[in-house]
Amino acid sequence: MPREARSFRYEDRQPASLDLGPAIAAIAHAEGWLQPLPPITRITLRPWQRAVFWGLRVYIAIMLIVMGWGFVHATGG
C-alpha cells in the first residue's frame, strides 16, 4: 500500500455513515468502479497527422506574432 494510504473501517466511523457501506459497495460493483480502466496503448501519429500538427504550430506562431503586432499598434506602443 502506498505511503500516503490510510486504512479505516466502517465500524470506526460515525453511526450516520454506517449504512452507506453495503450501498457503496453495491454501486461500486454495479457500475464497475472497482474494475481497473482498460489500458490505453500508445499509437504513433501518421505522417500526415504530424504534418498537420506542425502546420498548426507554425500557424499559431505566426498568429501570435501578428496579434502582438496588432496589439502594439492598437495601443499606440
Partner: protein, 457 residues
C-alpha cells in the same frame, strides 16, 4: 504516484482498494442512483435533474467571462443591432457541437482530455497541447481579473482588496471543498451570469429592430466584410464561444463528477441548458450595448471602464452597478472553472491523483501549478498601470488561434474506435467539426492579413 484508500466493507470478505477521492465520487453516484430508483414524483425528478446538471452549465456560463462580456459590449457598440445578434444562435450550435464530443469522450473512457492525449499520442504531443492550454488559460485569467478590478472600482473598492479576495475565494473552494460542494457553489456563482438578461429587458429594447436583424436588417458593415475591426470582432466572438480550456474542463469535470455512458443524455441536456444561457446572455449584452453605446468613439476597442461609464451615462448609476456586478461574477466564475481546468489537465499529464475530492496534502502537484497560474494572472492585474484596453479582444482571438490544434486532437480521439466503440463520431459531425476548424483558421488568417496589410483586401 497514486494514493489509495483501503476501504473495508462489512459485507465483503476482502477489503476493497479504491483510489483516493473515489469514496466521495461513489457517494455522489449512490445519491444519483437513489434518486433514479426512487418515487417518480415531481420533487424527486427535479432533484435528479438538479443533481445531474453541472459540467455543461458551468462550461457555458463560464464561457461568458469578463473578457466575453466586454467583447459582446464592444460588438454591440461597434455595429449596433446588427447581424451579430442572429449570429449568436449558430455560434451556440457550434459550441454544442464541440462540447458534446467531450461529453461522450469523458463518459465512455472515464478519463480526462489531457490524460487521453498523453497516453494515446505520447508525452511530446501531450506537452504540445498542455502548453497551449496553460498559456491560453493564464492570458484568459488576466482578462477575468481585469473585469474584477474595473468593476469593483465602481463600488469604491480598491482592486488591492478585491483581486486578492477573489483569488482567495477561487483557491479556497478548490482546495477545501469536495467535488459536489465545489460544483454547487460554482453553479450558484454562475447563476448570476443571467443578471444581464433582466438588465437588457429593463433598458427598453427596441424589439422591432431586434426582430429585423433576423431578417437581414442591420447586416450592412461599415468598412466592409474584410475590415480588420469586423474580422477581429468575428474572431473574438467565436473565441468567447469555444476555447481550448472548455474542452479540457468539461471532459475532466464530467469524469470527476463520475458520469458514465448512461448519463450522456442527461449531460447533453445540461450542456443545452448552458448553451441556451450563454446565447441569451450574449444577445442581452449585445442588445444593451447596441442600443445604448452604439456610436461611441473607438467602440471596437472599448475598455471595461469605458463600457461601464457608457452604461452609467445612458442608463443611470443603478444599471451601471448591476452591469458591474455581472462583470465581477463573469470574471469570478470563469476564473473558478479555468483554474480547475488547468489543475485537471496538469494532474492528468503527470498522472497524479486528480480529483477535487482529493485533499491538497495528498496531491500537491494537482493543485499547485493551477493555483500558481491564477496567482500570476492576479499579480499582473495588481500592478498599478496595466494596458487593459485592447487586451480583452486580443486574448479572445488568441483562444481561437489555439483552438484548431485542440479540436484536431479531439476529433482524432472521437474517431478512435478502440477508445470510443459505438460512440465514435458520425461523418456528419466530423464534417461539421472540420468546417468549424477551417472557419476559425480563415477568420484569423484574414484578420492577420488586414492587420499587417490594411489595404490588401
Amino acid at each position: 504516484m497514486s494514493a489509495e484508500t483501503e476501504l473495508v466493507l462489512p459485507l465483503e470478505a476482502n477489503p476493497i482498494t479504491i483510489p483516493d477521492g473515489m469514496e466521495a465520487r461513489l457517494r455522489d453516484r449512490l445519491r444519483l442512483e437513489r434518486l433514479r430508483s426512487g418515487k417518480q414524483s415531481l420533487a424527486n425528478r427535479l432533484a435528479l435533474g438538479l443533481a445531474l446538471i453541472g459540467p455543461g452549465l458551468l462550461v457555458m456560463l463560464g464561457d461568458n467571462d469578463a473578457g466575453g462580456v466586454i467583447t459582446y459590449a464592444q460588438t454591440g457598440a461597434s455595429y449596433g443591432l446588427s447581424l451579430f445578434i442572429p449570429l449568436m444562435i449558430p455560434l451556440g450550435f457550434i459550441a454544442y457541437l464541440v462540447q458534446e464530443m467531450t461529453i461522450r469522450l469523458g463518459a465512455v473512457t472515464r478519463r480526462g482530455h489531457a490524460e487521453l492525449i498523453w497516453k494515446r499520442y505520447g508525452a511530446f504531443w501531450g506537452a504540445f497541447s498542455l502548453i497551449d492550454l496553460v498559456v491560453a488559460n493564464v492570458l484568459t485569467l488576466m482578462t477575468e481579473f481585469i473585469g474584477i478590478r474595473v468593476a469593483s472600482e465602481i463600488f469604491h473598492l480598491s482592486y488591492l482588496v478585491t483581486i486578492p479576495a477573489a483569488f482567495a475565494f477561487i483557491v479556497g473552494i478548490l482546495l477545501f471543498l469536495d467535488y459536489a460542494r465545489w460544483e454547487r457553489i460554482s453553479l450558484f456563482v454562475a447563476a448570476f451570469n443571467l443578471v444581464f438578461v433582466p438588465l437588457a429587458l429593463a433598458s427598453h429594447p427596441d424589439w422591432a429592430a431586434i426582430g429585423r436583424t433576423f431578417a437581414g436588417s442591420g447586416w450592412a458593415l461599415p468598412g466592409g466584410l474584410f475590415s480588420a475591426s469586423f474580422l477581429i470582432l468575428v474572431s473574438a466572438n467565436i473565441g468567447t464561444t469555444i476555447a481550448p480550456w472548455q474542452l479540457f474542463f468539461q471532459q475532466s469535470c464530467l469524469v470527476d463528477k463520475g458520469l458514465l455512458p448512461k448519463d450522456i443524455p442527461a449531460s447533453r441536456r445540461d450542456l443545452m441548458l448552458g448553451v441556451t444561457g450563454m446565447v441569451l446572455v450574449a444577445i442581452a449584452i449585445i442588445v444593451l450595448a447596441g442600443q445604448h453605446l452604439h456610436g461611441l468613439p473607438n467602440a471596437s476597442s472599448l475598455s471595461d471602464d469605458s463600457v461601464l461609464a457608457g452604461i452609467g451615462a445612458k442608463l443611470g448609476q443603478g444599471a451601471m452597478a448591476v452591469f458591474a456586478l455581472g462583470l465581477v461574477e463573469a470574471g469570478l466564475i470563469a476564473s473558478i472553472v479555468i483554474t480547475a481546468s488547468t489543475a485537471w489537465a496538469i494532474g492528468e499529464a503527470f498522472d497524479v491523483p486528480r480529483s477535487i475530492n482529493v485533499s491538497p496534502r495528498r496531491s500537491l502537484i494537482f493543485y499547485a501549478p493551477a493555483i500558481a497560474g491564477t496567482a500570476i494572472a492576479a499579480a499582473v492585474l495588481m500592478l498599478p498601470r496595466v494596458p487593459v484596453g485592447f487586451l480583452n479582444l486580443t486574448v479572445q482571438v488568441v483562444a481561437t488561434v489555439f483552438m484548431p490544434a485542440a479540436m484536431l486532437f479531439l476529433l482524432m480521439l472521437l474517431n478512435d474506435r478502440e477508445l470510443m466503440g459505438e460512440h465514435v463520431n458520425s461523418r456528419l459531425r466530423n464534417a461539421l467539426s472540420i468546417g468549424v476548424m477551417v472557419m476559425l483558421i480563415i477568420c484569423n488568417g484574414l484578420y492577420g492579413i488586414t492587420t499587417i496589410f490594411p489595404n490588401a483586401l
